[in-house]
Amino acid sequence: MIDQLKMIVVLTLISCVAALLIAFTNAKTKDRIARQRVVVQQEALLQIMPAGVTVAENKAPLSSANDTLTYWTGVAGSDTVYAFKVATRGYSSTINYMICTTAEGVITGMAVMEQNETPGLGARVQEVLSKRLIWNGLGGPKEKTASWFSEQFKGISINQPIAIDKTAGEWHGLDEKGRRRLKDKNGITAITGSTISTRAITNGLSTRAKTYLKAIRG
């Protein structure tokens, strides 16, 4: 009987001590983790909002899905911009991205937050082109350029249909004239080999983003 008891006592004791230690570490790191999440949020907002805006967070009721949409307003002088999250189903995963548009629905900034599409294909929605090679890259300061795929959304309006141009090659390869012709068509370039992901994002814009914007502006 003794060793049965010993078994129970030892297992329970070890579990309790382990739980205590974990809880202790959790208490220590809890606020940092929360802060991390906020930092990531702020960083994204900074990236997509035009410079020099005061950011305020508020909620708007969503009639269709009877839940509320949290969005951020950026006020600079007279015009205000609205930023919110959009989720859409890509090739093999859900792509979460944030966009910031003016009242009329013209996008001022876009950033893909989270996705795990096929690496090398769909995942290139987040690709940041670093031109430098490894030997001169190690020393240099951290290159801070945004991903070319999100850059091309600037100036696109979500109220008109968005054209996807597969023939013109990728946006980072185009010259000034090519990019202006695309803007007039309210079009963007697709990532070679992953049109499903590209179309998923544009669908998200023209369907969900539009309803969100309408809900925000009441």
């Binding site: 579990s15 859409t88 093999s92 859900t94």
Partner: protein
């Protein structure tokens, strides 16, 4: 409220699209160990399905009724693995006592499963957000996911065992005999399963 679309999507997904072994890399250690003979592979497959089912149901209940309300989700790793280890050991003892024949074919795999990444993997995945519908898994969905992941695991295991029995006698270069050739076979199978990755039934589900 039962959303049949997502049920089908989950089951097909678990077996083909993100098969536990071939695309998620979970449960490889026993996968390569046991797949030398088809008989032991079948036994292992059954045991994995059985354990994954009870593991995913238990873990869902514990997560949603104990961990979630008290906001101690970070404990899920330790609680799940404790539950799985305890359950498996209990089941093994019970099987050994009450049905030696079943134990003969199935039970000896059970201690092997406690260190199986797939079982804890399915328990943890069930507590994350559901890929297709974006909302947390309901009990039925997580149970189904457990069963189907087990089926996916066993499917890959049986395929592997069949092939490996053939490669025993094929002229394999000396350095590649044994495990390396098994890995290459698994690589080829993973390549084939890659074909399923784009498969989804109702693209509008997310949209």
């Amino acid at each position: 409220m039962m959303n049949p679309i997502s049920l089908i999507e989950i089951s097909i997904g678990a077996i083909f699209i993100n098969n536990f072994v071939l695309s998620r890399f979970l449960g490889l250690c026993p996968f390569f160990g046991v797949s030398k003979k088809v008989s032991s592979a079948a036994g292992m497959g059954m045991a994995v399905i059985f354990v994954m089912t009870i593991a995913s149901s238990f873990s869902w209940v514990i997560f949603n009724y104990i961990l979630h309300p008290y906001h101690i989700e970070y404990l899920r790793t330790i609680v799940f693995i404790l539950v799985i280890a305890g359950l498996v050991q209990l089941v093994e003892m019970a099987l050994q006592k009450y049905s030696p024949t079943l134990y003969e074919s199935l039970g000896i795999f059970l201690p092997l499963i406690t260190t199986n990444c797939a079982v804890l993997g399915v328990a943890i995945i069930n507590t994350d957000l559901n890929q297709t519908t974006g909302s947390p898994y309901t009990f039925i969905e997580s149970l189904l996911n457990g069963i189907m992941s087990g089926v996916g695991f066993s499917l890959a295991l049986l395929l592997m065992a069949g092939i490996r029995e053939k490669t025993e006698f094929s002229p394999v270069p000396k350095a590649l005999e044994g495990l390396p050739i098994a890995f290459i076979t698994a690589g080829l199978m993973a390549l084939a399963f890659l074909g399923f990755s784009g498969l989804n039934f109702f693209p509008a589900v997310g949209g």
